[in-house]
Symmetry: C2
Subunit: 212 residues, 2 copies
């Protein structure tokens, strides 16, 4: 029953690291705490990852991979979402694509909240991998902005660099500020209803602005 079902220690540690680091911060959470929460000895963490630094690097990488896979639509679910994710920019108008992308991100956040919460934290703390993480996200965002610009959807006088950053902040900053947000929104940020409001507000802002 080992190979079919049970989780290896390494997997348990990573999975726990998402949760604990995401909740309490990376710098202020000790390797021992992660080990305790995962139900293993601190020495095992060292055994698998070489130390705390290695653990954080491995967690960074695992989080990024899982997020990327889910966003692209890989994994156990049906193939329909992959289909629509792969349909290129050409053909759809900007508004529709924008909404679809936003919903896609929201779906991933609802599917794997711990991973996303961790990513939000990693970005904002000085993790070794966070610079690469950030660069990846920004580059991806920039491509979409450029594609939307080619398609004529982007306002022609827009500053594309800052447009990319604005996209990034509107999507990722809430994750980094999540503990504070619960007080302002009544709900959990990642509750379905809240997620819908979030997506809707972002789409509206990007399409029409706030002030007419």
């Amino acid at each position: 029953m080992r190979s079919v079902e049970a989780e290896t220690g390494r997997e348990a540690i990573i999975r726990t690291a998402f949760r604990v680091f995401g909740e309490s911060g990376i710098a202020s959470t000790s390797l021992r705490e992660v080990a305790r929460a995962a139900g293993v000895s601190p020495a095992l963490v060292v055994h698998h990852f070489g130390g705390k630094e290695g653990l954080v690097a491995a967690t960074d990488e695992a989080a990024l991979r899982r997020f990327g896979d889910a966003y692209r639509g890989d994994g156990a679910e049906g193939s329909e979402s992959k289909r629509e994710a792969d349909s290129g920019v050409r053909g759809g108008d900007g508004a529709e694509l924008l909404r679809r992308r936003a919903a896609q991100t929201a779906r991933v956040m609802a599917e794997m909240p711990e991973v996303c919460a961790y990513l939000g934290r990693a970005l904002v703390e000085g993790t070794a991998g966070s610079a690469a993480l950030f660069r990846l996200m920004i580059d991806g965002g920039r491509e979409e902005v450029d594609a939307l610009a080619e398609a004529g959807a982007l306002r022609p006088d827009a500053d594309r660099t800052w447009a990319t950053l604005q996209h990034f902040f509107l999507i990722w900053a809430p994750l980094s500020f999540m503990p504070l947000l619960q007080g302002v929104l009544g709900d959990e940020l990642l509750a379905p209803a809240q997620l819908d409001r979030w997506v809707e507000a972002n789409v509206q802002l990007l399409e029409k602005g706030l002030y007419s």
Copy 2:
């Protein structure tokens, strides 16, 4: 010459705390490091603030006060900026007010970059005072949003809660992500030219959106 010019130990510690905490993070910077950077003994920090927790609380409070004073236009400078800051919402159209508010925030950031960098950090780490800090900013933002709505400037179908949060993120998230931003922008975020681009991009986004 003491009382006229020299800085007291307490002031030196707080001023240093802005810089060091802002650069390296609060949780991952030791009380000893702050003391060393300030040129005093660790015991003095304990003497004045009771411990690290107290130091962080005092730094929070000092940062918030200085930012508030500067934003409101108190302090050594001429009184003209205070004048324009106090001119209420009524009378000006939304766009003009919006631009003025953005420029005002940018001015404060250029004036006291360390304080602002610290605030960006404090918000994102689980500081004791950061919840209050956040609430204050959100409440202030909400008031402005409501005022703009009364004046008819806000899009009528906008979600005011999320509109407030969007304002907040567009302004404060860059501070929290500052170490990462330097790579994407060529410049320093708080360099005057970059600051202008930032303000301009925000105003444009809030007025017209990104996609027409």
